[in-house]
Symmetry: C2
Subunit: 487 residues, 2 copies
């Protein structure tokens, strides 16, 4: 007989929730929110704080920072929301014909965006995803193995929930990692099994160490179920080389690990000739080991939140399961069913992502110009910021090969380390909090992602439009900080 | 040291996922999907099957069944998707001024629907929800206690995940219940603690039994954390009386249970004078026991999927936490943060739900007419169907007081019970599967929701437009079934 229930308190709720951390929206992000509110409501705040705006470089949220949406995607979304508009005589002047055709095609398959769809997502949109995958990977894809999701995160959480049976189960994750993974593992009461990315080798995983990492986990009683790879990388902006991918595939096959390939940045590429994006699906199906091609279970994730479209708020994405035994695939479907269906606006976003206007269609020129302008702007800001960081003392930064982030390395004086210790914070968190309070720049400390012991970093997006302002504020702060904490 | 990992199989994934059941999208729903595909692709199928369409009465999905969306909501959604439209000269002819004003107001607060919002939801929309709650309940509501969600289900899942710490934890749920609850409890590895609704008393909970149910669970080692109440009820269509609500509040307070009030059908009411909707928030804050008002933790859930708007596919809703200790409320926020943010289209749907056009505004007359037409049509179909069921032998049905469902009781002959046993199915599942195969009508058997031992039921929505066709097919089947299995 158990003791009678106590009043609700922090001491008797799920400890897994209490322990989960999500640095991207952690203490520093909350403080930034507070400063933004203060600046908006109090005209004296900018004098008091010494800056007139918060520069949000903590979250990959392009449209919050002024990136314009892709017109084609939004026009299609607009008409699917209010189909009567298509019947008005004004419609043909307001919308290109390919937009109207797409909206009609989708509505024919969907019925209404206000209805629950199939739990895996609208069959026609999954068919379009399968066609996209076939063109991208060079191999047919099965629409029944494609699951539309409310962004990649919910897909990752579902797959982890499916794979994890007990608190002894573990999942290999890169360090540094995107903290969704540690948070989802914490919520599922599972163990992160950490493998390191090597900063000296352009953040390529430390392949030699994989066997040791796994063996050590096994020796500690961990049953490792899966391996997460993020390429292009968050937070480090690397793009995996093909030899590294092949080695990872062999490693997973050798140890019966399910490979989870987070490929949401697959079109954010800055060194396309030397570091093109190769999907893990393609690498799997062209791997020299033939047994592996039909055996190794792979889940690949994509999203409309990133890339050039940056439609985070719609909550759309998909994952494809490959080499999943039928009964396990059925359980993936059941889990999706319990969640009813992904938001239709997100599903429609996926459709316009995987099936953009083609040459010759009325929307093509605008679409192409918009995509290229966003890509050029991201590339230029990435390079501008990396150069600025590399000019500063005690700071070094790999160039971004992909994704939306830089992950510069800090070398801070011992006096700063001690001041941070006195403040009860990791030193990079201490640095980032000071930066926010003195300049309004909001970054995430490397300790929120994990990093090699003894190193210090921060992650910054390069999405904020005023790079010069950012760099000027940052330089001033960094110089003063080093001066203040000089040993 | 653990044994080396085995290849992925149904035997080594999370047993909690394997065991979770969700009847609303279970075997019969899958079979219905198959029949629909067959009818769509094979011109001979209708002769072979003996019917020309599947009638979906298994899911509360109004717009799938032809219910028209509310114009105001869709016009606002349309303009927030494609704001440039407002600047076109045609806009003023195409959209009423209050639609344009609302879209501008929302976009001013949101920025872009393609951006992540605050994890709790757009602050302005939460402010509007708080104003709605204040008007509904007669007491101020705090926007910081309002969490927008991707529908009520995800809110329920999050709160259950927060409350459940161990496999000994339990949550009281009504029987019959909406199977989201048993599925979420199974996924969280917690125990359902079942209390019965009394069919003879218009599905009012069996209040006398609550203490016994709880004591029995406690004696079995269960730490009961919370109690779920669904009113208006799913699947049974009851609306709780105020005395029952007061008794439930006292019971929860006495035993330190968190009260989870699923009120997503709060505007689907068919006996407004005798069974008005009273919110648990209002009942809590006007409860005679003063200590309870400031102590009992309550979560109340609402959704845009139900009511008259029926916008299931947008995935929008909210919950409000009341009397939650600050540190626990912070954990609710953190959990929301890990999930980034609810879909913006859903959030905008919540805004138009809680702040519809007012008398005197250009959209008011249309809005009012649309809402009333939907309500009248639901009321008429509910009553038509209940009457038809009550005319048939071996079938009895309470009238719906609220929600979108009837839950008629079947009394089937022993021969049918034996045939079902031979087929390895509960007898109501056997009946519903036969019904589907012979008529195309898709219902959910009572065993999918839970029911008093020895009783048999099914749940039907009254959303399908062709009630006469439904009734005709049903009567023919039911009569033949009783004849076929006559003892």
């Amino acid at each position: 007989m158990s003791s009678p229930p106590q009043p609700l308190s922090i001491d008797n709720i799920n400890p897994a929730v209490v322990e989960a951390q999500y640095a991207v929206r952690g203490e520093i992000a909350l403080k930034a929110e507070e400063l933004r509110a203060k600046l908006a409501s109090d005209p004296k705040a900018k004098h008091e704080l010494g800056f007139d705006s918060v520069i949000n470089c903590n979250i990959g949220n392009p449209q919050q920072l002024g990136q314009k949406p892709i017109t084609f995607a939004r026009q299609v979304a607009c008409l699917t929301e209010y189909p009567e508009l298509m019947d008005k005589p004004e419609a043909s002047a307001l919308f290109p014909t390919d937009v109207i055709e797409r909206a009609k095609l989708l509505l024919g398959a969907i019925g209404s965006v206000g209805a629950y769809s199939h739990s895996k997502g609208v069959p026609l949109i999954r068919q379009h995803v399968a066609e996209f995958l076939e063109e991208r990977d060079g191999f047919p894809a099965d629409p029944e193995s494609v699951f539309l999701t409310a962004g990649a995160s919910v897909g990752v959480s579902n797959i982890l929930q499916l794979l994890i049976s007990s608190p002894q189960d573990g999942v290999m994750i890169p360090i540094p990692q995107y903290p969704l993974y540690t948070a989802a593992l914490a919520l599922n009461k599972a163990r992160p099994v950490e493998y390191y990315l090597s900063e000296a080798k352009d953040w390529e995983p430390d392949l030699e160490s994989l066997e040791t990492v796994l063996a050590t986990a096994t020796a500690a009683g961990t049953r490792t179920r899966a391996m997460v790879v993020i390429s292009p990388g968050n937070p480090v902006g690397n793009v995996l080389s093909r030899p590294a991918m092949d080695a990872i595939l062999s490693f997973c096959h050798r140890h019966n690990l399910v490979l989870l390939a987070d490929e949401v940045y697959q079109t954010n590429l800055y060194e396309r000739s030397t570091r093109p994006f190769v999907s893990f699906k393609h690498a799997l199906l062209t791997h020299p080991d033939e047994a592996l091609r039909t055996k190794l279970p792979l889940v690949n994730f994509h999203s409309i939140s990133k890339g050039q479209v940056g439609e985070c708020g719609r909550r759309g994405g998909y994952f494809e399961i490959v080499n999943f035994p039928g009964p396990v695939a059925e359980q993936v479907y059941k889990l999706a069913s319990i969640q009813l269906c992904p938001p239709l606006a997100g599903q429609i976003g996926v459709d316009t992502l995987v099936r953009p206007p083609k040459p010759g269609q009325p929307s093509y020129a605008t679409w192409k110009a918009e995509m290229e302008a966003i890509e050029a702007s991201l590339a230029s800001r990435a390079s501008h910021l990396a150069k600025a960081f590399n000019k500063l003392p005690q700071l070094s930064c790999n160039e971004a090969q992909g994704a939306l982030y830089l992950f510069p390395k800090l070398e801070l004086p011992q006096k700063a380390v001690e001041a941070a210790k006195a403040a009860g914070k990791p030193v990079d968190a201490f640095y980032c909090l000071q930066l926010l309070l003195k300049t309004g720049i909001c970054l995430i400390p490397g300790s929120g992602f994990g990093q090699a012991p003894g190193t210090m970093h921060f992650r910054t997006t390069f999405l904020a439009p005023g790079t010069d302002d950012y760099v000027a504020r940052f330089e001033r702060f960094h110089t003063n900080f080093l001066e203040e904490y000089k040993d």
